[in-house]
């Protein structure tokens, strides 16, 4: 991925205000955001898929990203841990900082970034290994050698992912024998085991039944005690249930970003209102 470093100036960290594209003040908080995004543009070949995104992601809060298909929401979260680097012919411009550190800084390796910013995908993707190995493998490749420590961290992660009680007697069985919902929680446990600071969820319940969905949502609410969470979802009710902040994307633009209650009760922008009330298009 080519980075267009046209803006030599570092992002301004002094301001505690964030403005939307129409320059309305949305949020004024004293706390420093975990992630700051400033003037982010993203291109696939010549197609600009994200345009001037400005947004703060707050620590130990859940931020939901909503918008119609193709609006750039998945692209956006994939940039946050530089998964977008894998897309050929892509270009990024603008600033993203994780705790004031530019994530595009050549000294900030993507591997280190992805340890700090984990990701859970739409479809559960466990390794074709045992339940235990799914977690142990990630720890080992991240340099954890002590088998006692690996075991401790695996159990802790499975407990935190609310899966341990269901699998404690069959840790050596294949992860592929688990149900879809259990597989997704295993993927969350695998992500947690690395002890990230931020977890990105890309439509984590898209392929799950309502009971598994409810478990994942409960889990997200529990996990925000420890982690900063960003979730892409097509489900408005899910965004309402789990998130503290909501960002509405449309055709690559961030149309509105505010507290979830405000966005769903009284959105500032007519396009947001049309989308969430089903009058879009």
């Amino acid at each position: 991925m080519l980075r267009l470093d046209t803006n030599k100036n570092k992002p301004d960290f002094s301001s505690t205000e964030i403005r939307d594209p129409l320059n309305r003040v949305h949020i004024d908080v004293s706390q420093q955001p975990k992630i700051r995004v400033r003037n982010l543009d993203f291109y696939y070949d010549e197609n600009q898929t994200l345009k001037k995104i400005n947004m703060d992601i707050y620590e130990k809060k859940v931020t939901a990203i909503i918008g119609p298909s193709g609006c750039g929401k998945s692209t956006f979260i994939r940039i946050l841990n530089r998964m977008s680097d894998f897309a050929a012919s892509s270009k990024v411009r603008g600033e993203i900082s994780l705790e004031r550190r530019d994530i595009f800084d050549p000294e900030f390796s993507p591997v280190e970034l992805r340890k700090r910013v984990g990701m859970v995908f739409q479809k559960p993707n466990p390794f074709p290994k045992s339940i235990f190995e799914n977690i142990a493998y990630g720890l080992r490749i991240n340099g954890v050698k002590n088998s006692h420590e690996i075991e401790q961290r695996a159990v802790k992660s499975l407990k935190r992912a609310a899966l341990y009680e269901e699998v404690k007697d069959r840790l050596k069985e294949s992860a592929l024998s688990l149900s879809g919902g259990q597989q997704q929680r295993l993927c969350i446990a695998r992500c947690i085991a690395i002890e990230p600071e931020v977890i990105l969820f890309d439509e984590p319940c898209a392929s799950l039944d309502p009971i598994s969905t409810a478990k994942i949502e409960e889990l997200i609410l529990e996990l925000k005690k420890y982690y900063t969470i960003v979730i892409v979802t097509h489900n408005m009710q899910q965004a309402l249930r789990v998130s503290d902040y909501t960002a509405f994307f449309l055709m690559g633009e961030l149309i509105e970003f505010n507290e979830t209650k405000k966005v769903f009760e009284n959105p500032s922008d007519k396009r947001t209102e049309d989308y969430i009330t089903g009058r879009f298009g």
Binding site: M236, Q237, F264, E265, N266, T272, E273, I276, T277, G278
Partner: protein, 221 residues
Amino acid sequence: MYRHFEDELEGIKSSVLKMSYHVMDQILSALKALESRDRAMALRTIEKDALIDEMEIIIEEKCAELILRHHPLAKDLRFVLATLKLNGDLERIADLAVDIAQRAMEISEYPQIKPYEDLPKLADTVMKMLKDAVEAFTEKNYETAKKVILSDCEVDKLRDRITIELLQKYIKREPERADIALSLILAARHLERIGDHCVNIAEDVIYMASAKIVRHHHSEF
């Protein structure tokens, strides 16, 4: 899906309008019975209240079903929340019309103690508040709703004037006519309470139109 949802919203709005016309009719009928001391008309007013009770339940059921099926958000959510509340206010206004009709029955056997002056003024002001509140609801009009809230002072003043006059002139000086005077004081009190419900409706309209909760904060106008 969207079209069906819109139809359901419109259906609820029409039902509220229909109910509000019946409620206005009930107040006018009760006031006429009071003015002309017409017992039969008062009785008819009391009997018609059941229709409004039924309408209240239908509107509530329609709102519950809409929430259940469509999970309304933003302006649609505010519309349903406001409608649920003002539905209850309209039903209470109809109950107060029944109360006025009962006062009409109480005084129907006695001659009129005095020409009514402030009572018709109070009735006109309250009816105007109700019409404006309903208009504000149908048009989602913040300014009209605000006007309704500000009218409430006038209603309180008229109610106080009627109470003081009847208390001093009749209850204290002519105790034999105290019953009639008391019924009229109560009728004024019922009208004033209708004004309070109109204020509630206007507050709900303001929430619906702007998402602002102005209840208990009228001084901010």
